[in-house]
Amino acid sequence: MYLKTLHLQQFRNYQEQWVDFLAPKTILVGNNAQGKSNLLEAVELLATLRSHRSTRDRDLVREGELMSKVSATLERQTGITDLSLTLRRNGRRTVALNSENIRRQMDFLGILNAVQFSSLDLDLVRGGPDQRRTWLDTLLIQLEPVYAHILQQYNQVLRQRNALLKKIQSSDEQSSEELTVWNEQLVSAGIRVIRRRSRAIALLAPVAANWHESISGSTEVLQVKYAPNVVTADEHLDELQQAFIEKISSRAIAEQHQGTTLVGPHRDEVELTINQTPARAYGSQGQQRTLVLALKLAELKLIEEVVGESPLLLLDDVLAELDLHRQNQLLDAIQDRFQTLITTTHLGSFDAQWLKASQILHVQAGEIASG
């Protein structure tokens, strides 16, 4: 797929900006805090309806404005699509395809696919389990847009069940019949999440291991393993259901005491190990970078395989941080297949040949000029 144009209106620090993408690689160069990452964020939003930098729409609307709009023209094998996302300071966002409003956001997802790689991604290794869950969920939303709905349903059950547990905790009443029903809901919604996560990791793990082997020179073995909160010997639906219910009842007293749900995929983990040692404890910063790079390349390949077209790659200030060997590995893998948007503060660290084949845009104070 190829992103032909992007149009930002009152988005972050942009007033109104048109961008035409003229080459498979576009380098956005400029000092810090000029709006380079904001542009990448706009593309990320169109792909996933999520931003890894902000969870509130009001942060995305330019200061002093009430509304913001991000639109793009995307070329896919099936044809050309116009996407647009309207964000409001106070109010719900709306999405449109080919100027027609789409009622369900789920139908908007999966049109544009993108893999984002920023310096924040090192938190995949260093951060807590929630970082890895968010990463996995964002990937899944692109692989199977219906997952956005599945996850939302699970989170809704979780919030409702937590509210009930709080109520039980504060009033000492026994509303066990109602809780039983919420347990059933947690299990059926939770199982949908668990099975999809498990399937995605099963696909991703070997690809990531391969990349890691080739980048690190086959001295280290990367293992990506899904470690669900509800564990079963086999993946069979009945087994999983049984195990889930048993775990809920084994933690019932603790849950009522703490007033919160302790069992379910909101407590899942994705384990990253190198040579059987947790990557967090194992790696130097360089090794951790290799690991994240391998994960990102695996995402890229997996989306390409599942969707049937190559997704966009958004490299936010990371290329300069990689050493030459890793840079070359990355550039080799991308070639011209993946449209790539790159942000950087200086062009010095780029290969000359590479620069020649790229479109270079200068970003300054929310304005973009080609150079």
């Binding site: 369900r104 789920m106 139908d107 219906v146 709905h149 349903q153 809704q156 059950v157 919030r159 409702q160 069940r161 509210a163 009930l164 109520k167 509303s175 019949e177 109602e178 039983t180 029903v181 919420w182 059933e184 809901q185 919604a189």
Partner: protein, 171 residues
């Protein structure tokens, strides 16, 4: 609507205003089914031509009106007044569930049809009522699936999955 009203003769507007005030003052809830009613017992509950052996449980009076429009259903109703939602402080006690159980144990209907939206909260309410009422009588729920005139190929995965769950024997 405001512009349209302004163009009408004053007498008509007065009649409308009176009707609105009357509605506000007189319309309450039916003591049997909790549907909106100007009388203590609503028209549907009083109608002897309607099937007494079937009770259709809905969350809101709006749903009764929607179902009545179909003219396909000839039984009685029960309006819950909402769905179970702990976040909003709504548990079974806040709904008309107790009255429903009393009604079911006294009237002994042959079938209870649960017609509640398949949201997370609606689904939970359906499951809760199912467990509660099954000891008394046959409990069914309405099917969810493809819209009439909808093409299978354009249906989304969630709708298709629901339609599969609710499949039935070809008769």
């Amino acid at each position: 609507m405001a512009l349209h009203i302004l163009k009408r003769p004053e007498t008509e507007i007065q009649a409308l205003a009176q009707a609105l005030i009357d509605a506000k003052q007189q319309v309450g809830l039916c003591s049997v089914c909790f549907h909106l009613s100007a009388e203590p017992v609503c028209e549907i509950c009083r109608n002897t031509n309607r099937d007494d052996h079937t009770i259709c449980v809905v969350s809101d009076s709006r749903d009764v009106i929607a179902l009545e429009k179909t003219r396909e259903y000839h039984g009685k109703y029960h309006v819950l007044g909402g769905v179970i939602s702990p976040m909003d402080g709504i548990g079974p006690e806040q709904l008309t569930i107790q009255s429903l159980v009393r009604r079911v144990s006294q009237q002994k209907p042959k079938e209870i049809i649960l017609a509640i939206s398949p949201s997370v909260e609606g689904e939970t309410t359906t499951l809760y009522l199912g467990q509660l009422l099954k000891p008394f009588t046959r409990v069914t729920r309405i099917a969810f699936g493809l819209p009439v005139g909808g093409d299978l190929e354009y249906a989304d995965e969630v709708t298709l999955a629901r339609a599969l769950e609710g499949r039935r024997e070809l008769d």
